[in-house]
Symmetry: C3
Subunit: 128 residues, 3 copies
Amino acid sequence: MLSEKDRAEIEEVIAIYGHVVDDNAWDRAHLVFSDDFVFDFSEFGRPNLNGVAELKDALRGRRVYSHHSTNVVIEEQPDGTARVRSKFIGFPNEGPPISGDYRDLFVRTPDGWRLARRRSSVRDPRFD
Amino acid sequence: MLSEKDRAEIEEVIAIYGHVVDDNAWDRAHLVFSDDFVFDFSEFGRPNLNGVAELKDALRGRRVYSHHSTNVVIEEQPDGTARVRSKFIGFPNEGPPISGDYRDLFVRTPDGWRLARRRSSVRDPRFD
Amino acid sequence: MLSEKDRAEIEEVIAIYGHVVDDNAWDRAHLVFSDDFVFDFSEFGRPNLNGVAELKDALRGRRVYSHHSTNVVIEEQPDGTARVRSKFIGFPNEGPPISGDYRDLFVRTPDGWRLARRRSSVRDPRFD
């Protein structure tokens, strides 16, 4: 079962992600991403990003200059990984802030919990 | 005294609330709300919502499509309940994000901490 | 080494800060600030604010009426203090929300962890 320490570590990795990406602090990327990290764009029919180098390239000329994470919910999986859902608020270069969701896979590595896979979606007004 | 685990559980319930409400994931509502949950509108002179079914109905045609929680502060009460204050950012269907406050009552149930009462207020610019 | 309890306490102080400042709840300021608190404006070439009384004065006629903290990252220092980075979302009286960063120094006091120094910066769209 995940300990309080496990949960706090995962939340911290999610927190650090925002600083790394927004500050271009790629020297700290090893604190966030597993070696085989994948940014999963399959649901958009776009190719995935594989590894930190591809993520870094993709973020050049970025559209969103600040990322805030909230509402982190962690669920341990039977295989020892963790599924993590969170929400984010992004500040685009133009226009008001946006709200979105991250769906993450976290893995336990010798250096601690790391983000192995992230799917991101932006939320639209929804009438129901 | 509240343990770190108690506090982490309460924070997680607040986090899950946003996902349940924004995703219409009412099958997960039992993870958030106590059976006798009340959404307290007394300060607005409107009737309270009693139970999840009334909340779900009230949110149809909702005006705010995403809810992010931050600044959670938990205070144990002498009767074993917890008073919890937090802030939220809401994304209305129209117009820029809003900032508000939740004042919650949490209770310990056999299944864990659950939200028994919530008051919500939206914050306005304030000059002092 | 910082315990989970230390980390949770520091996160809570950051959470309370938003409530104190936004609610003008200065009677709770002792839960947040060390006696020798400094709001550090050195990088802006403006004088620092020293102590809660100066902060309170400076916030009269404030421009930002709500402060939400996210992405808290805590690093223990060899001298027993803690460096804490976080992000904030502020709601200005006019215009859409802003995104910024806090760089904090926390100290351990007989009453618990307290904020001894804060630097704040507002983030701008950045093209790279």
